[in-house]
Amino acid sequence: MSLHSAGWREVSRAAPVFAALGDETRLALVARLSSEGPLSITRLTAGSAVTRQAITKHLDVLATAGLVSDVWRGRERIWELEPEQMEAARAYLEHVSKRWDEALGRLKKFVEA
């Protein structure tokens, strides 16, 4: 397959997603938006040891990777998850996963022969 195969385009899209997720605070933010739905910056900061300013920076990194987006509701900025980008990030693991399926298929033939 060539460099320009569909798979490669997919992972080119996924690369910034992995970089954005390579941080515990950002992972935690994504996890919260995933389980609780859209949240305001106030809600996201509440009970956190991390400052509102720092949280905003992390959310901006996630937004650049296309993982989250924000809308203004009145005077509040509401953040929500963009599920499509999360799917792109999973594509890489699915690929590695397929490789294991193939290898184990060969192992099965090998030991059952």
Binding site: W8, A14, A31, L93, V96, R106, K108, V111
Partner: protein
């Protein structure tokens, strides 16, 4: 965290209609492992030991794969570390994080249940993952050709 797990690890389970001893030797014996894995590995499979292999990858020439064995519990567990798809010629991957591959064997009525877990993907740099994805594409196309040749011969 569930989300963390979903990007960090791959887990596989397969029931093999073969005795546990047979499956263990297919994993623990370097030559047998090479036969089904599809890459000729040289070295020994013992805790702390390393095995390596070289193969031709379409468009990339000869590339090296290295496996660092961690655990060898006869007929029960085997684990090793490697650099997933660290195939780019001329690049030194030794200082980069590895993934851990763990095999676990269990006797069941039909034969042997084998569980494979590869973990640590979250620590692999994003650029490497992108590269690996591409190499994987080329690598496995080549692998499939090898298998087709082997089966046909």
């Amino acid at each position: 965290m569930k989300l963390h797990n979903s990007t960090d690890r791959i887990e596989k389970e397969i029931v093999l209609r073969a005795p546990r001893t047979r499956v263990w030797h297919a994993l623990a014996d370097v030559e047998q492992f090479s036969a089904w894995f599809g890459i000729k590995l040289v070295g020994s499979f013992a805790p702390g030991a390393r095995a390596h292999g070289q193969f031709e990858l379409a468009g990339h020439g000869e590339v090296t794969i290295e496996i660092a064995i961690e655990r060898m519990d006869p007929e029960s567990r085997m684990s090793f570390r490697w650099h997933p798809y660290a195939f780019e010629p001329g690049v030194d991957y030794s200082s980069e994080p590895t993934t851990l591959v763990e095999f676990q064997l269990e006797e069941v009525a039909e034969g042997t249940r084998l569980t494979v877990v590869e973990s640590g993907f979250d620590r692999i740099p994003a650029a490497r993952r992108a590269e690996a994805f591409h190499m994987n594409d080329a690598g496995w196309a080549e692998q499939m050709e090898n298998i087709a040749r082997y089966v046909a011969s």
